[in-house]
Structures are given as C-alpha cells and as structure tokens.
Symmetry: C2
Subunit: 312 residues, 2 copies
C-alpha cells in the first residue's frame, strides 16, 4: 500500500500542520493522530493536535496524549489541516474554518468532497495502517512512542486482530511495530483491563437484563441502570456486545432508554430480516442490522417485539 | 527458530506415528496435533491421533478433529510416539506404554527426562509455533486446514495476541498462516462467541458474586451456582478472569467450593505478598500468585481473608 506521492511531497515540503480527528474519538483516531504528529515533529515541523471531545479514560496511556488540545482550532490560514479517521469537517466539529490546504487520511467510506489532498482507503483495517505507510514513505524511523500509538490504533479497530478486517498485512505491520518497541500485552492491558467499578457494575446490570427466548436475546439499558451505577457516557461502549457471546442467539435486540417510555432499539440478526421488524416501529436499516425509536412502556415493547420477531 | 535436524530427519525417514496431547486438552494442544498430523499425512505417513479427554465444545470446529481417537493407544511397539504440548507421559495419560521412539515437542518447562528426541522451547508462545517451524522444515506446503489449526493453537495460547508471550515473530507466523488461508475473524468467532446459555448464566452469577473492598476483589463459584445453571466442567474456564478487568483492583481472591464448607482459594496480587496470606490458611505459592484450601463457612472465610489482606 503506497500513499499518494502528492501527499508525501506536501508533508515533506511544508512546515505547519494542524491535526484533527473526529468527535467522540476512539483509539484509532487518537493513536493515528499521535503517531503522525510525532513523526512530523521529528522532521522539525510545527504540529498542533486537536480533539474536540478530549480523550476517553482508556486512551490516556497513549504516549504524548497530553499534548493534544481539547477543543477545535480558531480560524488560521497559516496552517495546513490534516483530518484523520474521518473525511468531513462536520465529523471533527470544524465546519467553516479556513486552512492553506486540507489533507484527509481516512479508512471510512468517503461521502463528500471535503479535502484538497485525500487518501481514503475503505479497505484499510484502520487509519493507523495508513499512517504507518505514510511514516514509512516519509522515511521517519518508527520510535517506541510512534509504534505504541499506531499499534493501539490498529488493535482498537481490529479488536486485537479478531475482526474480519484483519488481513495478512495487518500482522506484517504489527510485527514491524513490535520490533520498534510496541508491547502487545501492555497495550491490551490498557485497552481491556482498565474498567472502572462503575462501568463494571453497569456491565453486571446489563447482563442481568438479558432475556433469552430460543434464538432471540433482548437486552436493555435504562437511565436508572446508568445513574445507579454512576457510569459515564463512554461506559456503555462495548457492553452491548457481551450478549453476542451466545452461540444459540441468532437475533438480538438492544433497547436503550432515551427518555421515559421512549426507547432507541437496534436489531441484529443472522436469521430474520431486521429491517422488516424495524419498519413495524417506523424504523429501518439493513437485513442484518436495523434500528427504530419507540414510545412505549418497556414490557409492552418487549411483547410487541417478540411477536414480530417470531412471526418473521 | 530451527527445529533440531535429528527431529526433522527422523520424521522424514519414518512412516508410522502416534500423536498424543495432554489430558484436558486446550486449543494449542489440539490445533498443534491436528496441524502436524495433517502435514505428516500429506507426506504419505500413517498417523493416528489421540486425546484421552476428547475435545471441548469450543474446539470442535478444528479441521479434521473428527479423526482424533478419544482415548489412549494400547501397547504398540511398531509406532513412534509424538507427545505434543506436554513433556511427560503422565500428562497424556500414557504411562508405561512402549514405542519405537518417543518424540517430544513442547513449550512448557521440562521437568523429567521423558523422550528420545526432544524439542522443548519454553520461550515459544505456543506449541503451535514449534509445529509451524517443523512443518516448514519438512518442506510441506501449509494447506488451509493446517493453517487454521496452527493459527488457532497460537491464538489460544496468546489470547489472540494479548498476552506477554506475543512477540514480533508470533505476528510473522500469523501473517504467513493468513496468507495460507487461515481466517482470523472466523477463528476468533469460534473461540469467543460460542458460549452456551448455561455458561453465560454462570458468568452472570459469578459477576453478581464479585465483592469489591477498595483495591481488593473477592469472587466465588459455588457448587450451587454451577448446578443451578446447568454448566459443565469446562464452563468455569476464563470466567474467573473477568474480575481482572477492574483497573482499581490490585488483589483478587477467587474461592471455589470443593465441598460443603470446603474451599479452594487462589490469590493474585500486584500489591501484597500473596504467598504470606495463603500461608495463614496453610497454603503457599509465589508473591504474585498463591493458593490455599480452607474448611470454613463462606462468610467467615471472607471476613478472615479481608482481615489478613488489609493487614499485609
């Protein structure tokens, strides 16, 4: 995988860069930005890094993360923007701000035409993969800190090499990053074993809410469950995936309380048409994954859901 | 990493092999045996594979696992033994059985002198790593099925690349196995998302039993919890590790009911001397990990434990 020569030349020939990632950043966004930022700094360039929403608790081990400005830049036409892990200004909260040039490095499907120099590769497992190739093309040596940041980026977006985006070249890059000092076990420890007691208690409440009817699982997360455990907004991430461990479950519905008797539902299925069930509640989506919003008392909502799910 | 030339020559020059693994086999033992077995068969050799304790439920996706004989061989001095993922006959349940030659391939610390040709490498992440190098040295092409078996062996013993035994060469091998057809996501799905409802319910009961006192967690698994969920003997594996997710916990004690008011305890700590606490209950071990047995009513046992744990 080779970055566009125009991108590499522009990075080499210019000296001032503002790096920005998407709102609610994850480890791929943060690790990618920090890895590229460190590489550009080592070339003597002025680099400023921004994250509108700061860093979630479990990303605070990333080397040099304390240099990230929590916020968005003010109008500044003396710097070049590098938008990482997203490809629209809105996703970074920086609509309407001017720059010399706007560079985009991302692995999500591109939708708009934002960016003067773009490298968007949806088949890449992580933005970290693209940043790795950029750093190699720049001829910068991968330091321990760069390796740790990029390894984390890739580990987060592949579920430490468990998701279907994990390819042979993902492992080639991981091997190289480990040779540059990245520690797989240290990083995994930071990613997975740093749960707060509040989040842990929310997981227990969530698991206790799982209801199984044959190959259907219905789970829910209420405002009361979140409030009573003292969990924060990031703490619901990943928790819903736990019901996916069950071999017998082909269809799962997750209900999240948005307001009193108002629920956001998401349906995932490998058996029935999720979109058709979601449509009964005025929602929609795809065959395997769909969503809806419903105003209903919870036990009635579950009854209605079960009726439609077993009819399909 | 190069296998001993004596081992490779012996495998090439002989035609009849009985492959055996340790009792209560895990994915490393099974995947390693199946990978080597398939490679030797492709060279035209007679191969018989044995597992005294059969296969756990979550290993039954391994290619050709149906060819494994559930049991131990009878006395047979016309075959060569290959003992995999252990290095003592007792660990495989085959004490006193005679063979032409006894070959040992293992990554555990060797204790006895069993074996005529041995390749024991404690620094290897998995026996699968050694089998990979043997197959390469034999000059056998790695088929999809061999790749799936060996990838699984390595994935199991490294926690899919999360444990500290994961090195750069582990990723090199993973990359090569993926190029030979192994699917990281399919294998991870089989390893982690095939929980039975019974096992899932046991996990919920276990998590509900977690008691946290500052940086101490006490967890327990009673016979009643196992019986009421209908969980089987393999179902307690991994479950105890869930309390390790907590960032604030430095010391954790797991109590498993062996009989009425009789408990097997294990203490893990990064803060206190686990061996000293275990010694108070007549047990012992290391600074970071120790064990004991205690005859006591559970609430009294927890009180006593907390007293010693907070004194240390």
């Amino acid at each position: 995988m080779q970055p566009p020569i125009e991108l590499i030349n522009y990075l080499k020939q210019n000296d001032d860069f503002s790096l920005i990632i998407h709102v609610n950043p994850d480890g791929d966004a943060l690790g990618s930005m920090l890895g590229l930022g460190e590489a550009l700094k080592s070339m003597g360039k002025r680099v400023t890094m921004y994250s509108r929403d700061g860093l979630p608790h479990h990303s605070q081990f990333l080397p040099h993360c304390e240099t990230i400005i929590h916020g968005i830049p003010i109008e500044d036409k003396t710097t070049n923007l590098i938008l990482i892990d997203c490809n629209e200004s809105k996703r970074a909260g920086i609509e309407g701000i001017g720059y010399i040039k706007r560079i985009v490095v991302d692995h999500h499907l591109t939708e708009g035409d934002f960016g003067d120099i773009k490298w968007v590769v949806p088949s890449a497992a992580a933005s970290g993969v693209l940043i790795y190739h950029i750093i190699k093309a720049l001829g910068v040596e991968i330091s321990l800190d760069i390796a740790t940041n990029i390894y984390t980026a890739i580990a987060v977006d592949t579920g430490t090499f468990r998701y279907s985006n994990t390819k042979a070249d993902t492992f080639d890059i991981a091997a190289d990053l480990v040779r540059s000092g990245a520690s797989p076990s240290y990083i995994a420890e930071q990613m997975y074993n740093k749960w707060s007691v509040e989040r842990f208690n929310l997981l227990i409440k969530f698991l206790n809410s799982v209801e199984i009817y044959g190959d259907i699982a219905i789970t829910c997360l209420t405002k009361e469950m979140i409030a009573s455990t003292g969990a924060g907004p990031h703490d619901t991430e990943d928790i819903v995936n736990f019901s996916g461990m069950l071999e017998s479950v082909k269809t799962s519905v997750f209900l999240k309380e948005a307001d009193k008797d108002f629920w956001r539902g998401s349906i995932r299925s490998t058996k029935i048409n999720a979109a058709e069930v979601a449509a009964k509640f005025g929602g929609g989506g795809h065959k395997n994954a769909a969503g809806f919003k419903a105003t209903s008392e919870i036990s009635q909502l579950k009854k209605d859901l079960l009726k439609y799910l077993t009819q399909e």
